[in-house]
Amino acid sequence: MKKIAFLVLIAASTFTLIQSCSKSGNSTPDKNNGSSFDRGAMLTNISTNIILPGYTAYQADAVTLDAAVTTFNTTPNAINLTAAQNAFIATYKAWQSVSMYEFGPAAAIQLQVNTNTFPASVDVINANITSGTYNPALLSNLPAKGLPALDYLLFGTGADNTAILAQYTTDSQAAHRKTYLATLTTEVKTNATTVLNQWTASYKTTFASNTGTDAGSSTSLLVNQLIYDYENLKNYEIGVPAGVQTSGQALPAKVQAYYSKISLALAKLHLQAVQNLYMGASGQGLDDYLVFVKAQYNGGSLNDAITAQFATSLAKLNGLTDPLSANIISNQAAVTATYTELQKLTVLLKTDMTSSLGILITFGDNDGD
């Protein structure tokens, strides 16, 4: 037995010499203050100060929008049209702050695709209006409802407001169109209300108390969905319209909010919302978590790198102009350059952040070894 143990030790030390040539981390082993990061406090802060206010504002705007459309349908005139349009813009802006919470109540009703599948399909919308009946649950109706469809109905059915108004007054399909409009705003309102109510009723507690890091834990859901939603922003709000996936051939009509021409404003709000979640507003957020675990990047702090990249990305977006669809045509290079900066942020969030937190970044479930 002794002989074997001796041989083992020799083999082991030889092996160590062979493979211990290089190290991976550039972080020096240092002691943290001995306590662990309080994920519960971070989750409570995020739900109380970011998610719930976000849903509350979005739901309130959705209610206002639905009411404005009801008023417009009863009395379709220029003033009520403008009121409905403004209510729509407010709702779409508020949506940017809640699109990344597709777990729990939102996931249960697939809020994201039901609310914001763009570009809208004008053909499907018009077919639905003409037929007068439609089933919102159908997958094929996703691009014919939600905010993108409302964007078309309220801003895209005519060249100007006079022409748009005609679609709801003198047009042969005016009655059907009004019904369709109302159905859509009602669904948006109902969905927003369902999610908000579940969050306030019980999910708030569920969310804050599930403090683990395994798949299905609140931190894991939050981080995974933040990244997923951020990639949607990068790809579908900027990249695809700029022609990144189509050999440089621009597809300006694919921007978010094509008809209301607020694409860039929305993209900025969206990025700021992602940043706000990352920072935990003014409380405990993912930034504090990364600082706590002393996550490193390129010799500096990872949090600094991420903060800087948020700033760079936002600065690039600020250099563009609305309507984004026109800007893509006039200065495609600038939009592509913005995309490149957004891409760098993807790497930092998706690779460095998740790896530093030891969070499973899989939307499904699987074993490791």
């Binding site: 083992v8 890091t213 690779t351 790896s355």
Partner: protein
């Protein structure tokens, strides 16, 4: 010297020993495989890992392994369930264990996304079990034909499993003896604090010294546990350590069935007395147990033994060499992963990556970025982003896709960023190389950027 060598050979290979440990191993392995397979099915993984993805990362040289169409995949898993039951109860054992080995290995070869060392371990164990008469005692087979019952088998039939387990632990331990694991306590320093919400011990897990303690204990455990289990004196202590160690890792990390598999199969190290007691205990639970048969030895014709010896010797030579093949490749193993699989390297890396592919039409010079999610599921994309051979496979797949779309000789490049054990993300592969023209093979992939390059 030759005398002691032949004595040694006799003691470990030829000496007749009681068959009970083999019967227990058969039951333990069969039943844990049954649970494991059913768990896999219930989790819906057949659908999400094999049926839904349109593209699969097959192993080099095994491109012919394809997901069977229609309900084929379910039939395959049905067969796994059936053969696991047959192995457990010892019904048509040789056929059952061979079929189980083939089906299981086939499933594992379908997609390297799901590669796990413990799946490889299962294949190896099932392969070894093909060659031993584990059904000739306390089984349905001998219930049907009692004259087949034997009570003594040559020692090798049991010792091959001990040797295999010893190698698994020992190599796992050796691979932990490196800077990252021992000196930097990586990746446990990242992983353990992530479990800080556990009751009682949670607070401790965030402390740096705990990560060091776990790292060092883990390495020592892996290196020495096989020897502890072999020694009569420390066997009980060793097995207690096995149970505690595996249950603890099972609690802390998401490693599925692995801890239970190891706890079950390491029972083989116990003495034949213990195994006979175990069998007697099981007999009490059964209404109709096989009756006792007088001592009878297992005998094989000389040519058959010679054939089996040859197979086993080749197997163990391969097992010894494989974990060292990484030495043939330049660069840092964890970074390149050349020679990483099939070497019992477990839990060694916190590695994450993001990869963007571009396909360029050489005729127009225009290029498109690929949204990976259009072709891969998230699990596949995550695994691919840090493994060069998978990156190359996907690049070849993209090239073929774009050829179909009418682009001649598309140029496929990738911007890939990887972080390893907290290093911070760095450019992983040469983003100027046309991956479409790079060949897969056992040679070093020159387009992987060195870990230490700036």
């Amino acid at each position: 010297m030759s005398n002691s060598a032949s004595a040694y050979f006799n003691r470990w290979v030829k000496a007749p020993v009681h068959i009970a440990p083999l019967a227990v191993l058969r039951i333990a392995f069969g039943s844990i495989m049954l649970v494991s397979t059913i768990r896999f099915i219930l989790k819906g993984w057949i659908e999400s890992f094999y049926i839904k993805p349109t593209f699969h990362f097959t192993f080099y040289g095994f491109d012919w392994v394809k997901v069977p169409p229609g309900v084929g995949m379910y039939l395959l898993f049905g067969l796994l369930v059936a053969t696991a039951i047959m192995v457990t109860i010892g019904l048509c054992y040789r056929f059952a264990i061979t079929a189980f080995f083939l089906c299981f290995t086939y499933v594992e070869l379908l997609d390297k996304t799901t590669y796990l060392n413990h799946y490889y371990f299962i294949s190896v164990m099932a392969f070894l079990m093909i060659w031993v008469p584990a059904h000739r005692y306390f089984s349905v087979d001998v219930l049907i034909s009692p004259n087949k019952t034997i009570s003594r088998v040559p020692a090798w039939t049991i010792n091959i499993f001990k040797l295999q387990l010893l190698m698994v632990y020992f190599f796992a331990g050796l691979s932990k003896l490196n800077y990252d694991w021992m000196i930097a306590a990586m990746p446990l320093r990242i992983w353990l604090p992530a479990s800080s919400s556990l009751p009682i011990i949670g607070g401790l897990l965030a402390q740096t010294w705990v990560a060091y303690a776990f790292s060092w204990f883990g390495a020592m455990f892996d290196i020495f546990i096989g020897f502890l289990l072999l020694s009569k004196r420390y066997r009980k202590l060793g097995y207690a350590l096995v149970v505690v160690f595996h249950l603890a890792t099972g609690l802390l990390f998401k490693i599925g069935m692995f801890p239970y598999i190891m706890i079950f199969v390491t029972i083989i190290f116990f003495s034949e007395k213990t195994h006979i007691k175990l069998i007697n205990f099981l007999k009490m639970l059964l209404p109709k147990a096989g009756h006792y048969v007088a001592a009878k030895d297992y005998r094989l014709p000389a040519f058959q033994s010679r054939f089996i010896y040859t197979v086993l010797v080749i197997h163990f030579i391969i097992q010894t060499i494989l974990p060292f093949r990484f030495l043939l490749y330049p660069g840092k193993l964890y970074w390149t992963e050349e020679g990483y699989r099939f070497s019992w390297r477990v839990m060694l890396m916190e590695k994450g990556g993001t990869i963007f592919f571009h396909v360029k039409d050489p005729a127009t010079g225009r290029r498109s970025e690929i949204i990976n999610a259009q072709y891969l599921n998230n699990f596949q994309e995550t695994q691919m982003s840090t493994q060069p051979d998978m990156i190359l496979q996907f690049a070849h797949f993209l090239a073929a896709e774009y050829e179909k779309k009418g682009i001649k000789n598309p140029i496929v490049t990738a911007d890939s960023y990887v972080t390893l054990n907290g290093s911070g993300s760095k450019l992983y592969i040469d983003s100027t190389v046309n991956l479409a023209t790079q060949q897969e093979g056992f040679g070093h992939k020159k387009w992987i950027r060195p870990f230490n390059s700036k």
